[in-house]
Symmetry: C2
Subunit: 248 residues, 2 copies
């Protein structure tokens, strides 16, 4: 007989409401993970979150040969507001997208928005895969939310309907922008923001003009070296969180 | 017959001196890459760098059935000093090491130093593979240098012989450190620096005390979420470059 363990390092995202006394049916995948992969049994605990109700400790209750229920014990963390930061990125190769989704989730991005630009070669994006990758990264990074995954949009449509109250950090690879630290080090950005990272082939002149015309756009550069799109995304998010976001 | 193209987007790192009139024999791998992969022929140009003499434009001269020589045409960029920033990281899985080496090189790290800590599971590191990955990332990011790759060292030995003039940014996952922006936003770090990222299992209490006792150590935290080691490495380097390094 194994001794029950109270642990909160195994975290699961659930789609149902969390509260005192709730009992939740694990999905078949979650039940398999808890019982067969992590070898948890009756009375072992896990942490649950749903993006709205904070984090709750729950006790594993095996249900039949394969299933499991999760019996809520108590709340361990209240819900907290995330930074309202979106990442707009041109789709890249699958590995690089996995990477962007995983790292952006760890770094606290609220919404992942694929953007189709004139130099974007990849136009098909597996949104289900992005969503699953984001859930896994949220579970492992102790986030209380899962970032929203937007359906791919052409850059022009996105800019046409851009909300005036969301500022845009435009990471331009041709170094027309200002250094990040002189932009945000002096006066940190507040309110809703988005970061725009270009495709491997760069933006066209027309796109660059259209972006520059947007109200509230802030062009910045990411140093003297050429960064891959996924490196630029992670670097820009980290700098924003450090200077303007929840690392402060 | 193909028209010769003058291009500097294909970049090669070479081990020989670069200067007016030099003619350099491409390695068999480089000759294969230029002739068979990139389909370059007589008179096409590439950019060369060796970490010391800046960047030079060179003309491809096929040599026999498989070889190639590179005939220097002119210097295109002078050598520039890199940020004197080291990355000390506990070895992780192979994919994650590839990732750290590639991204750290793009972001301008001068030396990659694997560090063996008490909670480091991986102790064998393929230094040749790290070196090759660093060269490729330097070629693609338009760096003029390739970062040095240090042989793995136990953390204790590294700290025992630590040079007093190199400051250490200690990224502690238990959030004992200060926010990055309040540390570097006000007074950017200058001179030689190193960033220390811990293993997945964290530092032990003894290690943490030993690090805290080091002269010139600056503990910082990387926000409220748990970051994978490779995410933490990229995030910390980007923030340092933005606030103290060559992004300014």
């Amino acid at each position: 007989m194994t001794r029950a363990q109270e642990r909160d390092d195994i975290r699961l995202h659930v789609e149902t409401a969390l509260g005192d006394g709730a009992s939740i049916e694990a999905t078949p995948q979650q039940a398999h993970y808890l019982r067969n992969v992590m070898r948890l049994g009756e009375g072992d605990t896990v942490a649950l979150f749903n993006g709205a109700d904070g984090e709750w400790l729950a006790s594993v209750v095996p249900d039949g040969r394969r299933g499991a229920r999760l019996q809520i014990l108590r709340q361990t963390r209240p819900q907290e507001a995330d930074s309202d930061l979106w990442l707009l990125f041109a789709p890249v190769k699958r590995n690089a997208i996995d990477f962007i989704v995983q790292k952006a989730t760890e770094l606290g991005i609220a919404k992942l928005q694929p953007v189709l630009t004139e130099n974007t070669d990849v136009t098909r994006v597996n949104l289900d895969r992005m969503h699953v990758t984001a859930i896994e990264a949220a579970e492992q990074s102790r986030r209380l939310t899962v970032p929203e995954v937007g359906a791919p949009l052409p850059l022009a449509s996105l800019l046409d309907r851009w909300s005036a109250d969301r500022r845009l950090m435009f990471c331009d690879e041709i170094r027309t922008g200002a250094p990040m630290a002189s932009t945000f080090g002096v006066e940190p950005g507040t309110g809703p923001w988005a970061i725009l990272i270009g495709p491997e082939g760069g933006f066209t002149e027309g796109e660059r003009r259209r972006i520059a015309d947007l109200d509230g756009v802030v062009p910045v550069h990411l140093g003297p070296r050429i960064l891959r799109a996924e490196t630029a995304a992670v670097a820009a998010i980290a700098c924003w969180q450090a200077m303007c976001g929840d690392w402060r």
